[in-house]
Assembly symmetry: C2
Homo-oligomer: 405 residues x 2
């Protein structure tokens, strides 16, 4: 059985017109006589509307109830689309998370898929040519509805593609693919024909919001070929695949940026073993994600520690630091929200030196001051004043000739 | 375990204010240290909105998809209410049809409950004090979502009360109970303290829309005491229970009416064995409900046959009759939509004669012409011109001194 999985996001199913375009795609695929699984998100705006509704009834809603509430968005999408497809003569049915089941753990609002009953889905595909599956949702072992976190429909699609050993998982969205950088910020950005899982992970985690990061992890783990492309035009998009030789020859694949950053500095921290744990454990316990961390060499037995976090978490982070001051022993807390990250990403860096130096020189030539640096095997990230983001992205894009790819 | 089941309709959960009133009720019940199951409908207007939405996407929507779509209305209600209750410190969770499961047959949009896993529900009641159950929905054996037809939440509540052997099933609604007749039509109508299942069935089927008829059948079959009462005031409502001696002493319990009637007459039908089947089978096969049927004594081997149906079905009924004319052998079809039914109902009729004669005399004295008559053990129904309904109801209400009950 030749199976293709396609996922359509909220803007692709926003209304009747959009769904009719999706139907055209579906028909084209079925004409190739493939069996097709279509994963849908909620119609755009619906999830936010349901979240706002919950706030009216409960200031801090129970997470399990919230998931049951919010999952109705996808339930509505798949019922409506399935009706349309049936009217068009397609043998189809909608499929909800509990009907497969798509089993997840019980971390409501950000659950992780644990298993998919692929035999049940294959049996359904014997009976139907098209399954319209509600994305974003699963059930835990007790049968309660869970959701997979924002953008979770991508993960649903990739997980189903992995379970069914589908040929390809096509992620249809409102952009034509993955770009060397954000085209809204830099008009020279060009679409990538392919990108490795690791590069995509770095692009996504650095704020290029084409694919949910967890879906890429899933695709990497199960080696699912993911094709990111547009619902609204026919041209091929970007293939997200295993690394290959041709990719290694390219030094830099893209430039990502993230403005949702705040910087916190603790001054004159006593430089003793265990001090990092004392500072970062209480923050991690609250589920907040510390990103870059820099510790200056100590002087006179004290040091400054600087780190970044998402802006929305700044207030709580400062509270936690103040509550735990006794254990941490810092002198002063400084913080700043006018900062942003810019990253240079490429698997080619593994085998080529000098990329970092070239990037720093280019930024320096553009008179951009670098506040913090962190590097990984395939990525160089710098923290800058927010006002320099656009200039930095353009500069780096030019430096690595990304418009010539 | 002392279990009470309460059902709240769409107007009772329409918004935050309404739900807060429901919460007050729930608290009062839990203070008596009972375990409580609350069955909720969709917020008023939501089901109709979802039905209208489906029409935008499909002129004649697939029934299974329609059920999956429409069932989201109750899913939203129970999630929101459960959040509120949790905030109020109550140990609670929402429960959807598939989570019990409440198993029905696969007659989508009008499914019948076949079984309820009462062990699972009792286990949930060990863990939680309050279960907030989505009304109107079930799952079929294949795990697809079904709905129980309009007003199906009443049936959900009664079926759950039967399965759990609850003390009482309280149906909260926007009226204070069951009245001798429609208070909007006749200001002398008084609330009944109790009414038998059979009387309630006749009242409901004759258009007194307080309780879904199937829920009353269920209550009768499993002997569930049903208490119909108002969400918005504390006074006791009407108990719907088994017949007892005191009821038999009362000749007439109520007057019902139904304006949703059309009359069809077939003239000069050949009077031969099997003619009724030839006429009514094709109509029944289309799922249309023929109500009163009258056949005049035949003259010269032919007869007139008259029957009533809901107005919405008139057009299709006439089509069917015309398509099958050859088998039926009638001469002419006459039809009329300006007709209505008025019924006198009471279990006391079983043991008392003369009720029918008294009713006919009263209508005659009021110059109301009777078009058709049909009677059962506990009911007398007459078909009238629609314009006479209000006068007929007042007349019969006075005749049987229902305001003095």
């Amino acid at each position: 059985m030749n199976i293709v999985v396609q996922k359509f996001g909220g803007t692709s199913v926003a209304n009747l017109d959009c769904m009719q375009k999706v139907l055209v795609n579906v028909r084209r695929e079925l004409d190739k006589s493939n069996k097709l699984v279509v994963v849908l998100s909620a119609q755009s705006g619906v999830t936010n509307r349901l979240l706002a509704l919950s706030k009216q009834y409960s200031p801090n809603p129970d997470q399990a109830e919230l998931d049951s509430l919010v999952s109705t968005g996808e339930q509505v999408s798949v019922a409506l689309f399935s009706m349309m497809c049936k009217d068009a003569g397609i043998k189809t049915r909608s499929v909800l998370g509990f009907q497969v089941p798509i089993v997840s753990n019980s971390n409501f609002t950000r659950a992780r898929i644990e298993s998919i009953d692929e035999k049940k889905m294959l049996a359904m595909l014997e009976e139907y040519d098209l399954l319209v599956v509600a994305g974003f949702q699963g059930v835990d072992e007790g049968g309660r509805i869970t959701t997979l976190g924002r953008g979770g429909s991508d993960t649903s699609a990739v997980a189903i593609a992995a379970a069914l050993k589908a040929e390809v998982c096509e992620i249809y969205t409102d952009v034509t693919g993955v770009f060397t950088t954000d085209p809204n910020l830099c008009s020279k950005a060009v679409k990538l024909d392919k990108i490795s899982y690791d590069e995509m992970l770095e692009m996504a985690s650095q704020g290029a919001k084409v694919l949910q990061i967890r879906s890429v992890e899933f695709a990497k783990k199960y080696n699912v070929a993911v094709h990111v492309r547009s619902t609204f035009c026919d041209e091929p998009g970007t293939m997200v695949t295993q690394e290959d030789k041709s990719m290694e020859n390219i030094l830099v694949s893209g430039i990502a940026y993230d403005k949702d950053q705040a910087r916190v500095t603790l001054t004159d921290v006593e430089d003793r073993p265990g001090i990092s744990a004392a500072i970062f454990s209480p923050i991690a316990e609250q589920g907040m994600l510390v990103d870059m961390i820099v510790q200056n060499p100590s002087k006179d037995g004290v040091t400054d520690i600087t780190f970044t976090i998402p802006r929305a978490d700044l207030k709580r982070t400062v509270q936690i630091l103040e509550q735990n001051k006794a254990n941490m022993g810092w002198k002063e807390i400084l913080h700043d929200i006018n900062v942003a990250k810019v990253s240079v990403i490429g698997v080619g860096m593994r085998n080529h030196s000098g990329v970092a130096a070239k990037a720093f020189q280019a930024l320096s030539d553009a008179n951009i001051n670098i506040m913090m640096i962190s590097t990984s095997e395939i990525k160089i990230t710098v923290l800058l004043e927010e006002k320099f983001v656009e200039l930095a992205v353009h500069t780096l894009h030019d430096t690595f000739h990304l418009d010539k790819r």
